[in-house]
Symmetry: C2
Amino acid sequence: MTAAPPEKIALIAGEGGLPLEIARRLRDRGSSVVVITLRDDPETFGPLSEAVVRLRFPSLGRVVREAKRHGAKSLIMAGNIPKRTIYLLPALFDPLTRSVLSERRRDDHALLGTIVAAFEREGIDVLPYWQILPEFLAPEGRLGTRAPTEAERQDVRYGADILRVTLPCSFGQAIVVADLAVVAIEAMEGTDAMIERCGALSGRGVLVKMMRTDQDARYDLPTVGPGTIESMRRAGLTCLAVEAGRTLVLEPERTLAQADACGIAVWGIQACPSS
Amino acid sequence: MTAAPPEKIALIAGEGGLPLEIARRLRDRGSSVVVITLRDDPETFGPLSEAVVRLRFPSLGRVVREAKRHGAKSLIMAGNIPKRTIYLLPALFDPLTRSVLSERRRDDHALLGTIVAAFEREGIDVLPYWQILPEFLAPEGRLGTRAPTEAERQDVRYGADILRVTLPCSFGQAIVVADLAVVAIEAMEGTDAMIERCGALSGRGVLVKMMRTDQDARYDLPTVGPGTIESMRRAGLTCLAVEAGRTLVLEPERTLAQADACGIAVWGIQACPSS
């Protein structure tokens, strides 16, 4: 009698450390992974997966065909993939890509929802990646060794109150506050670039990161990791506040050890009640 | 019979082109100007003023004494002076500076109001500088040659709607929008640095600049000028919208000629109704 064949899952692997973590976790739990990726380092996934398909001319139809060819009935998307990928010429010859682009709303988050719906119409289940990594979800309260000071807590509350105003406007998922003044707020530049300019502007402060009301809690959670802590250290920021239960802490042990080493308090705050 | 002696006015000259414009204007209307400044180029004011006092160890008490010594009963403040100036050690030995610092609220705009009140307690009238430059206030509607396109108007309306949400939070006095998405929003970095990062992020869009609800329309109006247009040109932004009647356009002829030359539409929009 042979064991049941392992469940096959396709992993669309974008940039960053998250797809590797997910591939490793899927392998550890006995799933068989087919990695579909645009990355320049597809070989990284070799030891973790049954097959790696590197797409040079990506399209949604191609992803569906590759997933099915390898027998995967479900799919996980993780890591950054530049939005412009979907506008590349070869993709535009793909009927599935074109069906997605015919949708009216095209901002990042609406686009993601439309892509998920298109995969599901083709019979491929899209799995929320955080189910694979439940212990990576930030809990409430103190995460590292140091608790935030009362002054840091005040700045965090001030920042969170402002994010609750900006998030429904579809921007402002991260903010830096020092002494109850807004040092910087994120729009299209991304969190790391936003943190970076705080080094010159204030050289101190707290970072508050929350989920946009138009992000999908299944596929599109805010993420922090060692890179976030390193950017904060360089900018002189002393406290990181994230939404409990709605933020992924990548490589949590390393992230928190790094935060401890440079005296950064990491704090899980209650999720935004408005969303 | 001799002519009445010219009215004496002290001008606290911070950085930028505005103090020079004001000194020139005061001279042209026959006032006698005493410039009090921290600037490295005090000689620039020589031809425009009766006296130039360069402060190396600034304090509010010193400003009052210099103004009175030169017979000035009124004072105009213009140009940027770093907030940290008031925390310099010599200033802290000054009773007037210490009385200002004992006030509870210390954000930039509250600080300015407290300083104005302190000068007035000492018998020095503080004059709103835009009264000296009434024709520099942006009118409503098209300011340069090109009118904004319908797409630009939509982005301006979207940006203005967001500023009306952020301004009461005491940040976000300028925003760049492209295709109804927020490219960047200003906090402590200042408008030019905010515009600059849009070059890499979108390379296009509209800039909307409005007055914070905690800015004092007498002393603290938003200001645009040739530098704003040049930053926009480099970043690829195509339309500048400012609040009519509440924005100073520095060197208006040069600013608008420069905007015309690079096809940037300049547009005066209605002031924020909430303030």
